[in-house]
Amino acid sequence: MPVYKVNVLIENKPYISDPEGDTILKDLVLKGGYHQVRSIRVAKMLKVEVEAKSVEEAREMVRRMCDELRLYNPMLSICKVE
């Protein structure tokens, strides 16, 4: 069966604060002189290689896996499968 690459992006919901992004912005980027930067948010990507019959099937399976195995916490984060 062919192997597909599927990317999963896990990020905090927009109204949930991101202390790590804030610190990177305040203490590294702005202090480093990059004043054009307005905001930084940190997200996590899982690059998954999966056997499937089609891209659609691969995506659908990865999506199911993320939900079922709690690869992210739906209370906190959103999870996009690309």
């Binding site: 202390p19 790590e20 610190t23 990177i24 203490d27 590294l28 202090k31 480093g32």
Partner: protein, 246 residues
């Protein structure tokens, strides 16, 4: 002039007071905190210690944000002038991120923080660094680690060069975190800058050592004391003639 050692403090450093206690109450030398915003030092120091902790909460990557702070530019200059500089744990990570020491850190193989006592072997001649002067090559010290991004990494070429230059100072007997070649501490080419992952300050007083390690020949002290005694001996040996670092 009395020996005076600077302890660099970043927001989030948390072993600064521990180092202070050892220097002041056990080693009986002068110690002063140096806040990270300082970009010039108006006093002289004989050595600098960058303590452990979580500078900037290890955000982005352990040590990286601290490496850009004003005080590190001063530390870099003093290190180039030959001042003894010791980075412990997070201090080691900061020295690596600021380019004073080679290598990089990754998350422990266990993916978790690890707090436990390890056995650390000196892999170079004691005279290689001011902090190991009183230890013999091959001697083993009992000392705890406490880290999350403690897995040392360096590429093949650099590693070979470091081996040639005798820069690999400490190796774990019982690698706790997956460090490449069991590396637990390295120095720069000149030998005056040492970074080590384990915490010598936690192993200075025998009452703080786990029971099965308390049969030390050091009479009431733990093995970690040798790091600080070495430094003090080194500084005394340089005598009154040495120019203090400014």
């Amino acid at each position: 002039m009395p020996i005076r050692i600077g302890i660099v403090v970043f927001p989030g450093s948390n072993c600064d007071r521990d180092i202070y206690h050892i220097l002041k109450n056990i080693m009986r030398v002068d110690a002063e905190f140096i806040w990270h915003k300082r970009d010039d030092l108006n006093a002289y120091y004989d050595a600098m210690i960058i303590p452990g902790g979580f500078a900037y909460a290890d955000r982005l990557r352990a040590g990286v944000i601290a490496a850009f702070s004003p005080v590190m530019q001063v530390v870099k200059r003093l290190a180039r002038d030959g001042m003894p500089v010791l980075g412990i744990c997070n201090g080691f990570q900061i020295l690596v991120e600021s380019g004073l020491l080679p290598g990089a850190f990754m998350r422990n193989d266990s993916l978790t923080f690890i707090c436990r006592w390890t056995r650390l072997r000196l892999d170079v001649d004691g005279s290689r660094t001011p902090f190991t002067l009183l230890l013999d090559k091959g001697s083993i010290i009992n000392i705890p680690v406490a880290n999350q991004e403690g897995k040392y990494y360096v590429d093949e070429d650099t590693l070979r060069e470091m081996e040639r230059n005798e820069q690999i100072v400490f190796r774990y007997e019982d690698n706790p975190n997956g460090s490449l070649y069991d590396i637990g501490g390295v120095c720069n080419e000149e030998g005056n800058v040492l970074g080590m992952m384990p915490h010598p300050e936690r192993a200075c007083e025998i009452i703080l050592a786990p029971q099965h390690m308390s049969n030390s020949i050091l009479h009431g002290y733990g093995d970690g004391i040798m790091i600080f005694r070495s430094l003090i001996s080194y500084l005394y040996a340089k005598g009154e003639h040495h120019e203090p670092y400014r």
